[in-house]
């Protein structure tokens, strides 16, 4: 189908974009369009105004200091997957990117769009949670910062308030290792379940810290703190990873849909955690089933 009629504006500054959003209550932001355009074409959305943010240069900026990587909301998937400095600073970004859709979608889709859209099976929200990212939001009430965990609130639901714009995502430069695994019907499809993990090893070779995130297993990406706790202070090994993985799957209540049953997701979730941890810790034998 075709998109319903709407009026279109292409501001060149954040201030102009915010003014447009304030002036038109049901306006929608258009970033890469790779989720919004399908919704318009399927007539699932019918905003009266589209505010195209692609002309706002500062939203495409990437900056890197020794401690922080800052990605403008409009940085496209493709750039994240091909810019060695980005993956060097936050390896999870580079690991997850090839799993997102296909080349022609990655050349338009943006990290800010993916986060704002908040599909529970999307990679970026999970990566942001595992990498301890903070969202930089601009709105009528001024700028505010929201950590990833408080940003993704449910299926297609975020902490963004009406009239607000996600401007950038700030990541601490990773000090440890990272792993990522997902299972999808076909490569490039949304994941049925996936895991994104980070692990910091201490000088004694034990896990000093870990973050274990599952996505596609709930209405939003979720940290699995029991698994993180299990890893802390321990020397990595296949048995430890198996235990952490089953703790990560405990109490899960995943959705059932066309792509996978809840039971399948519950079954596969710990496998994804185990594989992501095994990759992060370079323990290929721990990838294999017990």
């Amino acid at each position: 189908m075709k998109a319903p009629p709407f009026a279109y504006a292409a501001p060149s500054t954040i201030a102009e974009a915010l003014a447009l959003l304030a002036a038109h209550e049901d306006a929608k932001v258009l970033a890469g369009g790779q989720s919004l355009m399908p919704a318009l074409n399927l007539r699932l959305a019918a905003p009266s105004v589209l505010v195209d943010i692609n002309g706002i240069a500062e939203l495409s900026e990437v900056s890197l200091t020794p401690t922080e990587l800052r990605l403008g909301a409009l940085v496209r998937h493709k750039r994240i997957g091909t810019d060695a400095a980005i993956a060097g600073a936050v390896p999870l970004l580079g690991l997850a990117c090839p799993h997102i859709a296909h080349g022609p979608i990655r050349s338009r889709g943006t990290i800010g769009g993916s986060l704002s859209h908040a599909d529970p099976a999307a990679e970026w929200p999970a990566v942001c949670l595992a990498a301890d990212a903070v969202m930089e939001i601009r709105g009528p009430a001024g700028p505010r910062h929201v950590p990833a965990e408080a940003f993704s609130l449910g299926v297609f639901t975020t902490a963004l308030r009406p009239g607000e714009l996600l401007a950038a995502i700030r990541f601490p430069v990773a000090r440890g290792r990272a792993g990522f695994a997902e299972v999808a019907r076909r490569h490039g499809d949304f994941a049925m379940v996936g895991a994104a993990v980070t692990v910091e090893l201490g000088p004694d070779g034990r896990c000093a810290d870990a973050r274990v995130v599952l996505f596609g297993a709930s209405d939003r990406p979720i940290r699995r703190r029991a698994a993180e706790e299990r890893l802390r202070g321990q020397a990595p090994g296949a048995a430890l990873l198996r235990e952490a993985a089953s703790l990560a799957a405990e109490g899960l209540d995943p959705p059932s849909d066309l792509h996978a049953s809840a039971e399948y997701r519950r079954r596969v979730a710990p496998v994804m955690v185990r594989r992501a941890l095994a990759d992060a810790l370079s323990l290929p034998e721990a990838r294999l089933a017990a």
């Binding site: 009629p5 369009g33 505010v51 080349g103 022609p104």
Partner: protein, 160 residues
Amino acid sequence: MSPAETLTVALTVNGEAVTRDIPARLSLADFLREELRLTGTHLGCEHGVCGACTVLLDGEPVRGCLMLAVQARGRAVTTVEGLAATDGTLTPLQAAFQKHHALQCGFCTPGMLMTATALLAETPHPTADEVRDAISGNICRCTGYVQIVEAVLDAAGTAP
């Protein structure tokens, strides 16, 4: 700046400058097909899944159905009609598609050609895996993909 339902767009399509007044909601694919009568760009799903509408935007492959025509202002768009020379000489990739029978009904072919053209521009000598990955977002109901992969590899001079 106030939002408008009709806008003037000026862009380059297959090397030619074009200017039109169009509704904001018009997709790039519909603009090419209906305003410019370049019907080589096909529309299968109109939600990004089939890849038939893939065109090049400043050399990068994009979904024509997931972009507004107004967003292509000032940009250079290349469609399947822009591949062959004006005298009809096929590009090596097109010739390889013909040689390897990489099409049957032809519905997916424009999208396949544009996607593979972009791949070869970025990666002149791809492996078979890289070719499969590149066309993973293009659905073909007829060929089973094998001949398409062979054609791309042949055009790249990487024998299958």
